[in-house]
Amino acid sequence: MLAFIFRRLLSGVILIAVISFLAFLLLYAAGGDIPRRILGENATADTVAKKAEELGLDRPLLTQYFDWLTSAFTGDLGRSWFTGELVTTSVTNRVAVTLSIVIGATVISAIISVVVGVLAARRGGAVDGTVQVFSLIGFAIPGFLIALFLVLVFAINLGWFKATGYVPLTTSVAGWLSSVTLPIIALSIGAIATVTQQIRGSVIDAMSRDYVRTLRSRGLSTNSVVYRHVLRNAGGPALAVLAVQFIGLLGGAVIVEQVFAIPGMGQLTVRATTLGDIPVVMALVIVFAIIVVVVNLLIDLAQAALNPKVRLS
């Protein structure tokens, strides 16, 4: 088990190193004249050249990458070229914001999906039909449209929630709830639609299996069969879908954070990549890669715990 975790972490580190190098090359390929972008049209050519030197952009590409890499290993990710902020501060502040929204959306979509998915699978008929229709709608409507609709109704017209901005949990619990509820709902809907379908399918599939018939023949209640046995078997694939959803939600957060003007990783990613803020983009690439590696590892472990037949070795 430990050997498995160690191997996965090691391959994760190699993966991250490769990704960081590719990201660096891509950023330069797409780059354009970053000092000019920082300074705008008012700057003279001399000032632009001076800025390039200040940022170290006049050095060879590989030297720049190597310098970045060695600094990164010592925990120094530099400062944003466009805000002057320490990249570590920048990213740390925003990770918490995005994770609170994405984890919130994941938990809510997991709970609702299990309840609705099982309900649809067990009841069938009109209930199942309704769930199917709503899933399809939830799946089809783009997240940003849902977000815009929620802002219009619940923030602007009813004034129940904040339309823009983020209040940290430490500042005010009510304020935090007011700022994250709509983004979480906007993010959840698509995920609920997908995961509900997965759970429904898995439960229907499991219910027709021999072991269910055996359990029923022993006189176990339907509830017991479904919640103690069927869900356990259906849980594996559902968890895998949920993990993919979680990573997908990080992408969805990009749009939702723009609509709600929330200072999360999504907003930072959009801003930093559009501007060419290389120190920030590099840090974000690393953080996203770490999250993906860790989430995948956790899912493997969870699946093993759920189903001993899944061998980690």
Partner: protein, 509 residues
């Protein structure tokens, strides 16, 4: 099922409880000091660095700097220069030495005195740094002759110097922070507000509290100031409608009717012009442009009113001049030099030897596709085929100034006269990348720099007329810069900056 009902009830109660904390419209009550509690603004861009040597900038970044720093001089609502940190300023006879007298009662918020030494250090930091306007102080020497006297010595007269001291180059930062890398995000100035770094999120939310020791408390109308950077126009609109801001910079003029319908007041100015910059006036890259008739024909090809309507929903004013209406050189009559006349333009092209037109290489960029399509269409109507290349967003200005194209569409700021001349007309100007030069232009420029005020004003008028007559540019219109304020707030909008002065806001009583 009962549990579900209970859960639903809990959610409903939570939602009702939350209504108490949503929205920010209840912040405008005035306090005992005669000030209102909080002013909340939205901006479209944040500061790149609070270190004035790296990031000092006005335009859309001005409120961030104005909040924490003072400038040596200040611009009032009419755009006139007034005393601020400097109470008095005077030139020597040949306008090469400017002597400034400073207030003696100003301290930085870290307790160090703001004296002549600090001012000199700050000016030098700006001059030697990499802020966008750093070059405006190039070649100038600064000296503190006593605690409250600073002299600025320059090799030649600079008619823009006094104006510069009222914007970014005139910002004074505490020298005690020069060696601190955190000064990029933790500014120390002597300004009306102090940045609350704990409550701020760099790049997104800037929270300030009034400086209790400010030397000029009468101009500070709010105990707290928050500036939220919102890049997305829809999110800005949502913030307005939800009452989460008192003032907002509006980038999309199409939304003006919707904003006004929501009870907001629109304040407007006109700072930028959009149009073609006909750079290659000597015809080194596009020989056709060397003929003034070709440049005139290009000017006649554009239906400026239609372009303004199509591209800016009519918000703005058509113009054929690069000098702004606030300039002494501006002449309204010049705005009808080139009537929209495609047939006349074709005749001029034929006279110039291009009866079948020609092909012109220009740059495009996806963000302004409609503009580029319309420009190409109007030029096609007179026989000029436009061949567009998209250099990629990050290279647009670089390739323009390289220069890689004989002409280009661009939106440019209409600065005060001397800055404008050195920005787009003088042989060395940034936006004169082919170095166009003409003895007549040189003479006008020399008179503006060295002549009496009267001579300089006349030369500015003559220069503007010459530039229009010789069609160095083909401006289309000045774009309306738009700012919206809520019903609780009064605003006196600066005529000469993209973002209002933070001293221009006051609570309505």
């Amino acid at each position: 099922m009962f549990r579900w009902k209970a859960t639903a009830a809990t959610i409903a109660i939570a939602a009702i409880a939350l209504t108490g904390c949503a929205g920010g419209g209840d912040d405008s009550g005035t306090s005992d000091s005669g000030r209102a509690d909080r002013l909340t603004l939205t901006a479209i861009i944040g500061p790149t660095s609070y270190d004035i040597g790296q990031g000092a900038e006005y335009g859309n970044r001005s409120p961030f700097f104005q909040a924490v720093f003072d400038t040596l001089l200040q611009k009032n609502g009419e755009g006139e220069i007034e005393p601020w940190l400097a109470t008095d300023w005077e030139y020597n006879e040949d306008n090469t030495v400017l002597t400034l007298t400073l207030r003696d009662d100003v301290e930085f918020t870290d307790g160090t005195p703001l004296d002549a030494e600090a001012v000199v250090a700050s000016l030098e930091r700006f001059r030697d740094g990499t802020a966008p306007q750093a070059a405006t102080l190039a070649g100038k020497e600064f000296a503190a002759t006593d605690a409250t006297t600073v002299t600025i010595t320059q090799p030649a007269p600079d008619p823009s110097l006094v104006n510069l001291l009222s914007i970014a180059p005139g910002l004074i930062q505490a020298p005690s922070t020069f060696d601190d890398p955190d000064s990029a995000t933790e500014p120390i100035g002597s300004g009306p507000y102090v940045l609350d770094t704990a409550a701020s999120v760099t790049g997104t939310t800037y929270v300030y509290t009034a400086n209790p020791e400010y030397w000029n408390p009468d101009v500070v109308k709010y105990d707290n100031l928050t500036i939220n950077v919102i890049e997305d126009p829809t999110a800005t609109l949502n913030a307005l409608k939800a009452g989460e801001a008192n003032g907002a910079k509006i980038v999309n003029n199409d939304t003006i009717p919707e904003i006004e319908a929501s009870g907001w007041t629109i304040e407007a100015n006109e700072l930028d012009f959009q149009g073609l910059l006909l750079f290659d006036r000597a015809g080194t890259m596009a020989p056709e442009l060397a003929d003034v008739n070709v440049r005139k024909a290009i000017n006649m090809a554009f239906d400026r009113e239609a372009l303004l309507e199509a591209l800016q929903a009519g918000y703005g004013t058509v113009t054929e001049q690069v000098f702004p209406t606030t300039s002494v050189g501006y002449d309204e009559a010049l705005d009808s030099t080139y009537e929209y006349d495609p047939e006349g333009a074709k005749e001029l092209l034929a006279e110039a030897g291009y009866p079948d037109g020609f092909t012109l290489n220009m740059m495009s960029t996806a963000a302004f596709q409609t503009t580029f399509d319309l420009v190409a269409q109007q030029l096609a109507d007179i026989g000029i085929t436009v061949n567009y290349t998209d250099p990629g967003t990050g290279n647009f200005i670089t390739d323009m100034l390289a220069p890689k194209y004989p002409a280009t569409w661009m939106a440019l700021e209409q600065n005060p006269d001397w800055q404008l001349i050195n920005f787009m007309i003088a042989p060395e100007a940034t936006f004169n990348p082919f170095g166009s030069q003409d003895p007549q232009v040189d003479e006008y420029i020399s008179t503006i720099q060295n002549g009496t005020q009267e001579e300089a004003d006349q030369a500015t008028k003559d220069l503007n007329a010459w530039i229009v007559e010789n069609a160095w540019f083909a401006p289309f219109f000045r774009v309306q810069g738009t700012y919206a304020v809520d019903a609780d707030t009064d605003l006196e909008f600066w005529p000469s900056n993209a973002y209002p002065s933070i001293f221009g806001f006051s609570p309505k009583n």
